[in-house]
């Protein structure tokens, strides 16, 4: 354990004005670089002297990373440095993608939403307290998971997708973005590439040290919301221990296209149950093409949690997730489009 906390060690601070300059800096310092957005994930790591980058690249001065605009080819593009408050209040987001506005509006507290960005929220590291406490676990490069023993404190950990590490993706907006079939714009050495949100988030089986596909030298610049899912039926709910300043125990995001009472298409996602926002494809299949009634909702919930493998303190996440999926299916159908 670190014997001194709450005091950042020294680093070199860069404040580039363009995304290209930021990427050049990130590439120059490689593993020793740290991209800083709103700072709400960053400063814990730095103040606890656990992550010790040589260079911090503050993205706050890059104007092109801010704001919500119409995307070429329809839909919306949200700059990665747009604050969560701006995302939750933006008229066009609220009108066409109320799912994301709702999820962004439930993050932490008003103060944190004013400071935190959408890019930072989706790129944030896991909140596993063993890992964040500086324990030398798998994710930190060690060879043990402290959260997965018969005595571990793992009420908040995963019920799906464990692979040595049992941490969860804590982001509220990540699940909403996967449900909306968003695309993530990544800038790196080779230029820009666009990755589907569903593929952007990765589990420990793919790379145990990272939560997303971003590699050293790369950064998220924008998020694109497709026209295809604009104005669909939505549902988002976050179960948590406190009404503010809490990560989800389970969150569920649903987007549905309903025609004449029949579900033409649906995307269902649960987060904080796995190391990545988890698409619930079997539950989607149970709902797609059907007229939603209580029986359909019930069975979608049951199917969604099939295969869950709770740890010794978190079996409650199974009924919680099941109930939230049922409710999402029930309520999304009932809600009118924005």
């Amino acid at each position: 354990m670190s014997m001194i906390r709450d005091m950042m060690p020294g680093f070199e601070l860069f404040q580039p004005a363009t995304a290209q300059d930021a990427v050049a800096l990130l590439e120059r310092y490689g593993d020793d670089a740290w991209a800083l957005a709103g700072g709400l994930d960053t400063f814990d790591w730095l103040k606890d002297r656990i992550k010790r980058p040589r260079a911090v690249v503050d993205l706050g001065a890059i104007e092109s990373l801010r704001g919500v605009r119409a995307a070429a080819g329809g839909g919306l593009e949200i700059g990665a440095m747009t604050t969560l408050t701006e995302v939750s209040r933006d008229a066009s987001v609220k009108e066409s993608y109320a799912l994301l506005a709702k999820a962004a509006g439930l993050v932490a507290t008003p103060q944190i939403r004013n400071q935190g960005t959408i890019g930072g929220n989706v790129c944030q590291d896991t909140r596993c307290w063993y890992y964040r406490g500086g324990w030398p676990c798998y994710r930190a490069g060690g060879n043990i998971c402290y959260a997965d023993t018969p005595a571990s404190m793992n009420r908040e950990h995963c019920v799906f997708g464990a692979s040595r590490c049992v941490a969860v993706n804590p982001s509220d907006t990540a699940g909403a973005l996967v449900a909306l079939d968003a695309s993530m714009v990544v800038l790196g050495r080779g230029g820009e590439k666009v990755v589907k949100a569903e593929e952007f988030f990765i589990g420990p089986a793919v790379d145990i040290t990272r939560m997303t596909v971003l590699r050293p030298g790369e950064m998220l610049t924008a998020i694109r919301l497709p026209a295809e899912w604009a104005g669909a039926h939505y549902y988002f709910e976050k179960a948590r221990d406190r009404q503010s300043w809490d990560f989800a125990l389970v969150s569920v995001a649903a987007a549905m296209k309903v025609e004449g009472g029949t579900v033409r298409d649906v995307r269902l996602v649960a987060n904080s149950v796995a190391p990545y926002p988890m698409r619930l494809k079997a539950a989607e299949a149970q709902v797609r093409g059907k007229t939603v009634d209580e029986r359909v909702a019930q069975s979608a919930g049951d199917i969604a949690v099939r295969g869950a493998r709770p740890l010794h303190q978190n079996s409650f996440k199974v009924p919680l997730m099941r109930n939230l999926v049922r409710r999402a299916v029930r309520e999304a159908t009932a809600t009118t489009t924005a």
Partner: protein, 810 residues
């Protein structure tokens, strides 16, 4: 008509400084050449330094000035917690401190210090430590007891011992109830066995209440410097004069060579009653370096260096008559004491249980077990809040079984002003609990609101809960000090610390009432021991309002008497022929006669002797005699000890009411309504009183719903060390409107009629909420706090939980 100040809202004298940011808290102080201190914290729950600490490389760094280790400390009792130690007894305890030009340099320097730490066995769970072969928190034992010495007249001494309960006792209990092991504290009222025989309904439950950190908004930062051989200390402390008097030894000074300044304290909740354990860090480093030193404490460090409430593992057996009367209570508490001095939560819990429910027969047993977790200290209603939240739900279970209305259940068992309580069955000054229950009934429209109990609407189910909370409410025997100056101002010196409750100025208004003097012309002197302060109670245990109004009343009466004597000397007649009002001392019934108080103050200086403080009363505390030197010759001095009679213990009472909605699909609890009604004697400051009732309740909601410690049992490491993970409630977790009402009848055993109110609101809030949750769940009781979403959902779904009845720190 004489002026009345108590009972009305007003703007306290620190208000503008607070809202404009001019108020200086400990961390805001700066001094020329000031250095910063930073601590190396223990990474283990129990370890010791092996060999020598090697700070050569650190001290060689530019900007590093000094290191403080255990060897630098003044002599102390080996049982005492010290600001730095070679044998940390909890994770996060300071091993050493470094003073440097900046915290940044100090932190880098600490990383260069070589310390070899030997891990030692540790204990986190009191019951586990009581098991045969269980771990001990200290090398010298696992329990702490107060030994009464055989020689009469000697004070009791705290002793660490090793104690294990028998394997047979554990086997007989079987994990589902508390083993019947040997207790250290035991008393009884009547015959509890006989009581249970008379009972129509008996309930017997294992119970658990968590430990939790105080977490005042202001951490315990402290700045210090030495000047002319005197120590100037700027800590964050609840109390002023007692902190000043009691902590001098740990700082290596005499009180007269030590000035303590703390005009604003950002809360303490009991964690800063007599200063803080880290105060010697800046003081001793300042002495070593000859420069001012600031020790800023971060939220993370506050979790460890700050204090915490004791937890309880308990067994409670209650026997009720058909009519709801509690005829027998058998209570056994295992107290999680932390690693240091013995805490009296358990004793207070026994007293409160016997007071609130007036059991006809009662047996109380308790044992205090040491653990390697952050040190415990009184936290708002220590013992009272825990026992109220633990026992109130059992009253509900009995009420349901016996078909008694729940508010009526409290009334049937409530104390009144003639009641006796505690093991010694002592008397009370006043207890208007039934009046408070009546007011609650009206305020919340109980007869209608209780019909909402267990009503379902969609996925939401409603629960309502009520609770009675009681706690001590005042000390006595302290001193008051004031001087009426020739400029016509009344300079009132108060030793009351400004811990955020307004009591430091509410109590001063007593002087304006007694002297019928405009409050606007009272200059309040507080928070700086160089300005001359009287001996005053601690600002804790709800003692201040009661004790300081008594002392200030006594000093005001002294001043009044002197003014009457001065008038009689100058204008003839007897002193009794004069009275004081409207800034004059005049003949009774002739307000325009006599002389102005400004003139009387001038005369007091001319007369000297007792009139201007050259002669002081014999019976005042030596501390007050020292403080009074500042006002000698400055005007007409009022100074006296509170010698008012008081026959009985003084307690205040709060009845809490909560209404919740639980989402049956998620286990989420929403607090829809909260109301609190108090009997705390005469109301001093209605706005501040409501804030105490509601602020305390919100703190109680935190204990009911989420505030707890989580430790990895294998490594003894804590995870709940910041605001996010410690989960105190935020303003978004409570209803926007909270209700309050007051009985507002003066206590007859004190001149002003006021009883304290800081403590009981927390237990009322916590217990009412626990009861409301249980009600919404059809009477399901968890027997533990906090009640979190997973527990509720598992209960609703009929699924097993991961914890056992006495599982701690999870």
């Amino acid at each position: 008509m004489a002026r009345t100040y108590h009972g009305t809202n007003y703007t306290p004298p620190d208000h503008y400084a607070k809202v404009t940011g001019r108020a200086r808290y400990a961390e805001d102080w700066r001094a020329d050449g000031m250095l910063f201190a930073k601590c190396m914290l223990s990474p283990m729950p129990h370890c010791r330094v092996r060999g020598k600490i090697d700070a050569t490389a650190a001290l060689a760094m530019p900007g590093v000035h000094a290191i403080l280790t255990q060897e630098d400390l003044p002599e102390h009792d080996p049982l005492d917690e010290t600001c730095v130690t070679n044998e940390p007894l909890f994770e996060g305890q300071a091993i050493l401190a470094v003073a440097a030009d900046s915290e940044w340099i100090a932190a880098d320097a600490i990383e260069k210090i070589k310390v070899d730490l030997e891990p030692l066995p540790f204990a986190l769970d009191p019951l586990d430590s009581l098991r045969p072969g269980g771990p001990n928190a200290r090398r010298d034992g696992n329990v702490i007891v107060r030994d009464t010495p055989s020689e009469p007249g000697k004070p009791p001494k705290n002793v660490v011992k090793e104690q294990k309960w028998t394997a047979d006792a554990f086997a007989a209990a079987g994990g589902a109830r508390l083993p019947d092991g040997e207790a250290h504290v035991e008393w009884a009222i009547g015959d509890v066995g006989k009581g249970f025989e008379e009972a129509d309904f008996v309930i017997d439950r294992p119970l658990y209440h968590q430990s939790n950190t105080h977490h005042p908004l202001e951490p315990r930062s402290c700045m210090a410097y030495w000047q002319g051989g005197k120590l100037f200390l700027y800590p964050s402390t609840q109390s002023i004069t007692i902190t000043h008097a009691v902590t001098a030894a740990s700082l290596g000074v005499q009180p007269q060579d030590y000035v303590l300044i703390c005009e604003f304290c950002g809360g303490g909740f009991g964690s800063k009653i007599i200063g803080t354990v880290n105060m010697p860090i800046p003081a001793l480093l300042a002495k070593k370096t000859g420069r001012p030193v600031m020790h800023r404490v971060s939220r993370y460090e506050e979790n460890y260096m700050g204090r915490a409430r004791t937890g309880f593992q308990a067994q409670a057996k209650m026997g009720f008559r058909k009519d709801g009367r509690l005829v027998a209570l058998d209570l056994y508490l295992v107290q999680d004491n932390g690693p240091y001095s013995i805490q009296s939560d358990m004793n207070s819990a026994g007293a409160v249980a016997s007071l609130s429910y007036q059991p006809v027969n009662m047996r109380f047993r308790a044992v205090s077990v040491l653990t390697n977790t952050p040190p415990r200290f009184a936290q708002r209603a220590p013992g009272g809040a825990q026992i109220t939240a633990m026992l109130e739900p059992l009253l509900d279970a009995a009420a349901e079984k016996l078909g008694v209305d729940r508010l009526e259940m409290r009334r049937i068992n409530a104390p009144d002003s003639s009641s006796k309580f505690d093991g010694n069955q002592g008397p009370l000054t006043s207890a208007l609990v039934r009046e408070a229950i009546d007011k609650t009934k009206t305020l919340v429209d109980w007869d209608n609101v209780k019909k909402l109990s267990r009503q379902k609407k969609g996925t939401k189910v409603t629960g309502v809960g009520v609770a009675l909370s009681s706690y001590t409410a005042g000390a006595l025997g302290f001193d008051g000090l004031m001087v009426l100056r020739p400029d016509g101002k009344l300079e009132l010196h108060t030793g009351v610390g400004n811990l955020g409750t307004h009591s430091f100025s509410d109590t001063a208004r007593t002087a304006a009432e007694v002297l019928d003097f405009p409050w606007e012309k009272v200059e309040l002197i507080w928070g700086n021991t160089s300005k001359g302060l009287p001996w005053t109670s601690v600002q804790a245990g709800s003692m201040t309002t009661h004790s300081a109004t008594r002392a200030i009343h006594a000093a005001s009466m002294d001043l009044k008497k002197k003014l009457q004597e001065i008038a009689a000397k100058d204008l003839g007649g007897s002193p009794d022929a004069y009275e004081v009002s409207n800034e004059r001392v005049h003949r009774k019934g002739a307000p325009g006669s006599g002389m102005t108080l400004a003139k009387a103050a001038e005369r007091a200086i001319a007369l000297g002797g007792k009139f201007d403080g050259h002669e002081l009363p014999e019976d005042i505390n030596p501390y007050t005699k020292g403080g009074a030197q500042v006002v000698v010759g400055k005007g007409a001095v009022g100074v006296a000890k509170d010698n008012y009679e008081r026959a009985g213990s003084i307690y205040s009472f709060v009845v809490g009411f909560a209404r919740v909605e639980i989402d049956t699909e998620t286990g989420d609890v929403e607090i829809m309504d909260y109301a609190a009604v108090t009997d705390c004697g005469r109301v001093m400051n209605p706005r501040s009183l409501a804030a105490q009732l509601h602020g305390g309740a919100i703190q109680g909601f935190g204990m009911a719903l989420g505030q707890k410690w989580i430790f990895d049992p294998q490594w003894g490491q804590s995870f709940t060390h910041r605001f996010y993970s410690a989960r105190p409630p935020s303003i978004l977790d409570v209803p926007s409107v909270l209700k309050a009402d007051f009985v507002n009848v003066p206590d007859p055993h004190t001149p002003v009629g006021a009883k304290g109110i800081g403590e009981p609101p927390i237990g009322a809030g916590e217990a009412a909420l626990v009861c409301a949750i249980s009600d919404a769940l059809g009477g399901h009781q968890f027997g533990r706090t906090p009640i979190m979403l997973d527990m509720i959902l598992n209960a609703l779904e009929g699924r097993p939980d991961y914890y056992q009845p006495f599982t701690t720190l999870t």
